[in-house]
């Protein structure tokens, strides 16, 4: 028949659920992970916009960094970077654990990741309080604070997500090797925050 490109197997009327069963959420296909990926793609565009703005400022300003910008200390942010990068591996152990139905392992590794995230944030607060420039000192200072601050906000959200997973893991049977979307979503978000930081570290500290 002209125009018909249909696989006969797919026209079997029994592929759908009957009306009653379909009313339950469990019967719907799960697209949440794909949704999270699309969301993170959109989220990365905010950072892309801010990064390009920063790079444009660098290019169009006659002097960069603007006069009066002190050298940035690299030791503390370097350690912070190492902590955040390693936390990506730590959190992945939690994902591996839950896939083996090991909820205690999930709690251990996610707890550790949250702790590393908090240490990172504390390190950033410490760095802020010891810097010689403020938000309004010059264009570099402003971009520095807004970019790292906006990223820090994401780290905070990530810690919140990990905390939510930890809380839920205490509900009996909430996570299992078959049902652990929350774990994967928190992990994906954490990797995203990590990758953004690597780019940020390169742009703000190393390119400085």
């Amino acid at each position: 028949m002209q125009g018909s490109t249909i696989d006969p197997a797919k026209t079997d009327l029994n592929y759908h659920h009957d009306g009653e069963a379909a009313a339950h959420h469990e019967e719907h296909p799960d697209h949440r992970l794909f949704g999270i990926l699309v969301f993170l793609a959109a989220e990365s565009m905010i950072f892309a916009g801010l990064f390009v703005a920063y790079l444009t400022f660098r290019v169009v300003q006659p002097v960069w960094p603007p006069e009066g910008s002190p050298e940035l200390e690299l030791l503390l942010p370097g350690i912070n970077t190492l902590i955040l990068i390693s936390s990506s591996f730590v959190i992945h152990r939690g994902d591996t654990a839950v896939k083996q139905n090991n909820v205690a392992g999930l709690r251990l590794w996610f707890g550790l990741s949250a702790l590393m995230g908090i240490i990172f944030l504390a390190g950033q607060v410490y760095e802020y309080s010891n810097l010689e420039f403020g938000l309004k000192s010059n264009l570099f200072a402003s971009t520095f604070y807004v970019l790292t601050g906006f990223h820090g906000l994401h780290v905070l959200c990530g810690v919140g997500l990990i905390g939510a997973v930890l809380l839920r893991s205490f509900k009996k049977g909430h996570y299992s090797s078959q049902h652990h979307f929350g774990v994967e979503a928190a992990e994906l978000y954490w990797h995203f925050v990590d990758v953004i930081w690597i780019i940020l570290f390169f742009l703000l500290y190393l390119l400085h």
Binding site: H31, A42, I46, L139
Partner: protein, 569 residues
């Protein structure tokens, strides 16, 4: 079982789920995509009326060269709110409303992929919109919908702050909606429907969602930096502190140029649905129209700086943006030719939906042509910031998007409410809108060419005659919404019952009841034919064969242009 039998079994079954909704559902956090779709449409129309009142006030002021109806400061408030409301609270959410209502029905899904997220995205709009519109009572923004710094940094902190935060909320809502559309279209189609079997509305929403997801976050970035400049005293965009206002313009237009495609693509899609149904012919060039939406999205992302030809953009860069801007006319032109070939030789029913559809093509083409004109750098430098630009953008946004929304409302109103709209009032509405639109915006081309600046409350008296024409047109437009409102309100309550498929459409939304039951389909439909295979004659066994047939010699089949291009031959 033959396919015809399967089709019959799928369409003739009785619906066990009740189809009626309580009125309260429409005022609550409801996750049904059909409720959300209507919430979007009604809310956005409400803001359309507010934006329209502002526009009418501006045109009243402009009837005379002096500042007499409102003072210039108030005029700035009005123009800023008019632009922002029409874009972010009318056209974009109206497109989202249509998409919410139609996508799951068209692809045979029971709801969107993330129903609660969907409701959340909608409920961000009313508070943000009311705060923005209400800012007129305290301290409204004055820097235009573009809000360029440094002007936006010195024209009042309260109004500008409200503007920034409203836009951040509306942008977030738009992003959340787009995630839903994208995932739903890609993942929730009935198994028999491939990407190339989708109704064209889904293709256009796929393209628009991509643009929203790529562009809107960059606008959010710009607004965050602008908020810091405004409220914290940084100098990202403030030249007096060493910042660069041009960076804002780039970030702003990186979103706001694609935004014009976000505003028109859903209605291109709606038009591609309306024309074949009411012309009783297959769409001409299905794949050409589908893929040209995607092409518009891609090219639309790399033309933003054509808004900045006078911002000191380097010559080589202007050349690049000029060429790509002109290239966008090619996929758009492909669509126009596809639509014209679709109606060519068809059995056209000149009802309200079709009138608005055909009207949309005719006025959109004028806006498209003036778009190619302003794409040319020398011409654009001449008309930049004049009424020529105002004329151009209203021909595409009013003539394109608003006509498209009206056409879509007339077309899908019977599906949404189960009742027909009144044709006489519909035609009156169309005639008034079409005349008002051309009377308002056509003279603005001339005004721009002879040098009248946009965004001014007082002007040189030599421009007055043409301005009076524009004002008369604007009043006509204001009046034209009255028959529509009467029609929509009265028909919703007491219109003639529509039946499931009053237009004899072939897409899935017409194969369920009107209004559809809560989970859309009792039995999910099966795709046996393409969405536009009019003239096959066997789709609806009960129909008269003359009603089914087109006046073409042989019924076409398939989607490929070779078999479709018999249109008009």
């Amino acid at each position: 079982m033959t396919q015809a039998e399967m089709q019959a079994s799928a369409t003739q079954s009785s619906y066990s789920v009740p189809s009626t909704r309580k009125w309260r559902d429409y005022f609550s956090f409801n996750s049904d995509h059909k409720v959300i779709g209507i919430q979007y449409l009604v809310t956005s129309f409400f803001f359309y009326l507010i934006g329209g009142v502002f526009a009418t006030a501006m045109r009243t002021e402009l009837a005379t060269p002096e500042s007499d109806f409102v003072n210039p400061e108030m005029y700035n408030n009005l123009l800023t709110l008019h632009g922002t409301i029409m874009i972010f609270l009318w056209i974009i959410p109206a497109g989202s409303g249509l998409a919410n209502y139609l996508i799951p029905l068209m692809i045979g899904a029971r709801d969107m992929a993330f129903p609660k997220l969907n409701a959340l995205a909608f409920w961000m709009i009313p508070p943000a919109g009311l705060v923005l519109a209400g800012s007129l009572l305290i301290d409204a923004p004055q820097a235009g919908w573009t809000s360029y710094p440094p002007l936006s940094l010195v024209s009042g902190k309260v109004g500008e702050g409200i503007w920034i935060f409203s836009l951040l909320v509306l942008g977030t809502s738009s992003i959340l909606g787009a995630i839903n559309f994208l995932v739903t279209i890609l993942k929730m189609r009935v198994p028999s429907m491939g990407l190339n079997d989708m109704p064209l509305f889904c293709w256009s929403m796929l393209s628009a969602s991509g643009l929203i997801l790529i562009g809107t976050p960059v606008l959010a970035g710009a607004l965050i930096l602008l908020a810091f400049d405004l409220l914290a005293g940084t100098a990202f965009f403030n030249p007096t502190g060493g910042g660069d206002p041009i960076v804002y313009q780039h970030m702003f237009w990186f979103y706001s140029h694609p935004a014009v495609y976000i505003m028109i693509l859903p209605l291109f899609g709606a038009l591609s649905e309306i024309l074949p149904v009411h012309a009783r012919k297959p769409i001409f060039g299905y794949r050409a129209i589908a893929y040209s939406s995607v092409a518009i999205s891609f090219i639309g992302l790399i033309v933003w700086a054509h808004h900045m030809f006078t911002s000191g953009t380097p010559a080589w860069l202007r050349m690049f943006f000029m060429i790509f801007t002109m290239i966008i006319a090619v996929p758009t032109g492909i669509k126009i030719f596809g639509w014209l070939a679709t109606v060519w030789g068809g059995k056209i029913a000149l009802n309200s939906a079709m009138l608005f559809g055909l009207g949309m093509i005719s006025v959109f083409v004028i806006g498209g042509i003036s778009g190619v004109m302003v794409a040319a750098v020398p011409f654009d430098i001449h008309v930049h910031d004049t009424y020529f630009i105002v004329a151009h953008l209203h021909y595409v946004l009013f003539g394109g998007s608003v006509f498209g929304i009206y056409g879509a409302l007339y077309h899908w109103f019977p599906k949404m409410t189960g009742r027909m709209m009144n044709e006489r009032l519909g035609i009156l509405h169309f005639v008034l809108t079409y005349m008002g639109m051309n009377l308002t915006f056509m003279p603005m081309h001339e005004l721009g060419l002879i040098g009248m600046n946009r965004r001014i409350a007082v002007y040189n008296p030599e421009f007055q005659p043409l301005n009076i024409l524009c004002t008369i047109g604007a009043f006509t437009l204001a009046i034209s919404t009255i028959p529509f409102l009467i029609n929509a309100g009265w028909s919703w309550i007491a219109g003639k019952p529509a039946g499931d498929n009053p237009w004899r459409g072939l897409t899935f939304e017409w194969q369920t009841s009107s209004p559809p039951p809560i989970e859309n389909f009792d039995l999910l439909p099966v795709l046996n034919y393409g969405p536009y295979d009019y003239g096959s004659g066997i789709r609806f066994p009960g129909e008269e064969i003359e009603d089914e047939e087109t006046n073409m010699e042989a019924p076409p089949g398939g989607f490929m242009p070779p078999s479709e291009s018999r249109a008009g031959s």
